[in-house]
């Protein structure tokens, strides 16, 4: 895949008027496959030394042209050098300890072959007659059908739409309203409330222990407890304890209410 890359203007403006033809690669594996093909190598028996040298030359070229080199390319550079160094070591070096793969290249070769498989699959599906590219469907709504539309069909919306709607909303409003929305790394009270509500949809009663069984950390227990208190305060749940120091149980304070069940004067408040 050849692309026409513009060299971004440098501070000194020297390269400003330059542009070069340079093969553009969709990642380090793509570049490696290209090198293997160019050198007519067998993918199962690549010369790490040659490939590594050419790979690094390419990266250096990109750098000299002030093209941004993605971190992924650098990670691969490090891996190649590591493999190369391991191949320099005497073979009996690895006799102790856990059995290693004999060929230091094995993992890389496997990745390359697997990548090649998906790369080809991508080309195959991309070569199909695509809707909106090679073939087209009718875009004009049928007037007969349009006249009879109503809103009672199944709902069609994706999870991504929902989250995107939320994201757009957040962009509109000040951050302080949402300090707790972009959940911290840790388990938040809001998460825990969601979890409890979710559980209560499935079962009538829930035990405190069920909530902390998987993760009995101090943080989790406190968060869970606070979430329960909050739900209790909101009168969403009721809490029971049969014996002193016994299990804490809780049940929904109100059953699943149907929309018809809303009192007329209370209709959405």
């Amino acid at each position: 895949m050849t692309a026409f890359l513009e060299v971004p203007p440098l501070l000194d403006g020297f390269h400003e008027s330059y542009s070069v033809h340079l093969d553009k690669f969709d990642g380090p594996l793509d570049l490696l496959l290209h090198l293997i093909r160019k050198n007519e190598l067998d993918i199962r028996d690549i010369s790490i030394a040659d490939i590594t040298r050419q790979y690094l030359e390419y990266i250096r070229l990109m750098k000299n042209l002030n093209l941004e080199v993605a971190g992924d390319f650098l990670v691969m550079a490090a891996s190649l050098l590591q493999i190369k160094s391991r191949m320099l070591l005497p073979v009996d070096e690895a006799e102790e300890g856990e059995p290693e793969e004999d060929d230091p290249r094995a993992e890389l070769i496997r990745r390359l072959m697997e990548y090649q498989q998906y790369r080809e699959a991508g080309q195959l599906i991309g070569a199909r007659a695509l809707l909106g590219r090679e073939v087209f469907a009718r875009t004009c709504p049928d007037p007969v059908l349009e006249a009879r539309r109503n809103e009672e069909g199944p709902l069609e919306v994706s999870l991504f739409d929902l989250v995107e709607a939320f994201r757009t909303l957040l962009e509109r409003i000040p951050v302080e309203h949402f300090h707790d929305v972009a959940a911290a790394e840790t388990f938040s009270i809001a998460d825990c409330i969601n979890e409890i509500l979710s559980l209560l949809q499935e079962q009538e009663t829930v035990q405190f222990d069920d909530l902390v069984r998987d993760d009995f950390s101090r943080e989790r227990v406190i968060v869970t407890f606070l979430a329960l208190l909050e739900l209790c305060r909101l009168k969403v749940i009721r809490i029971f304890q049969n014996t002193h120091q016994g299990s804490i149980w809780f049940v929904p304070a109100v059953g699943q209410q149907s929309p018809d069940g809303i009192p007329a004067d209370e209709e959405v408040e």
Binding site: L56, C140, R148, A165, L169, H177, G261
Partner: protein, 205 residues
């Protein structure tokens, strides 16, 4: 090269509005106006004569394929199952309820800045949102949360499976190392072109 009638057929079929003879002539400069006119006439006769479900008709000054009159009774049978699309306001409201539950109408309205009574009511009717209870503050407002149907519509196992905003935002982020790895410009300038790179171990391999 395909036949002109077939070409015109495909263009008219894919168009989102009726196409006039002049417009078709513009689109197909390699064909004469009269040729195009004749091809359209041929297509009209063909579709009218064959016992099919479509006809080519002239509407609003242009040509368009329509279902054959008399077939409406069949065509409209699918109308009632059209998937209902969500308006931006229902999506936003639903998102707030999903991410902030248990939540009151006042809280939803505070966030959206507009009245949400109608939207909430329609979400309740669609059973995506349910009433969890009443808040213990003056006025005892209703508290809303999402329903089991909500999970079903979005194909979620439970509320925990709802992607967090952070996870979606993370799709735009570059990986950590990519951000920190900006090469200082001075180094590049200092870097002698001909100098062999440290890793360029003589190819003894």
């Amino acid at each position: 090269m395909p036949m002109l009638p077939a070409i015109i057929e495909s263009i008219i079929f894919a168009a989102d509005s009726p196409l006039s003879l002049d417009r078709l002539s513009e689109i197909l400069p390699e064909f004469g106006h009269d040729e195009i006119k004749a091809a359209i006439a041929e297509l009209c006769v063909f579709h009218e004569a064959r016992p099919g479900g479509l006809v080519l008709v002239e509407v609003a000054g242009g040509w368009q394929f329509r279902t054959r009159p008399g077939f409406q009774q069949y065509v409209v049978r699918q109308a009632k199952v059209k998937a209902s699309k969500f308006s931006q306001s229902s999506l936003e409201t639903l998102a707030i309820v999903a991410y902030r539950q248990p939540v009151t109408r006042a809280e939803v309205e505070h966030l959206r800045g507009v009245d949400c009574g109608g939207v909430l009511k329609s979400l309740l009717e669609k059973r995506l949102v349910r009433i969890l209870g009443k808040k213990d503050i003056p006025g005892r407002p209703l508290i809303y949360g999402t329903s089991r149907e909500f999970l079903e519509v979005f194909g979620l196992k439970d509320l925990k499976s709802l992607p967090t905003l952070k996870e979606i935002l993370a799709l735009d982020d570059l990986p950590q190392y990519e951000r920190q790895e900006e090469l200082p410009l001075e180094n590049r300038a200092d870097f002698p072109e001909e100098m062999s790179l440290p890793f360029d171990v003589p190819s003894t391999l």
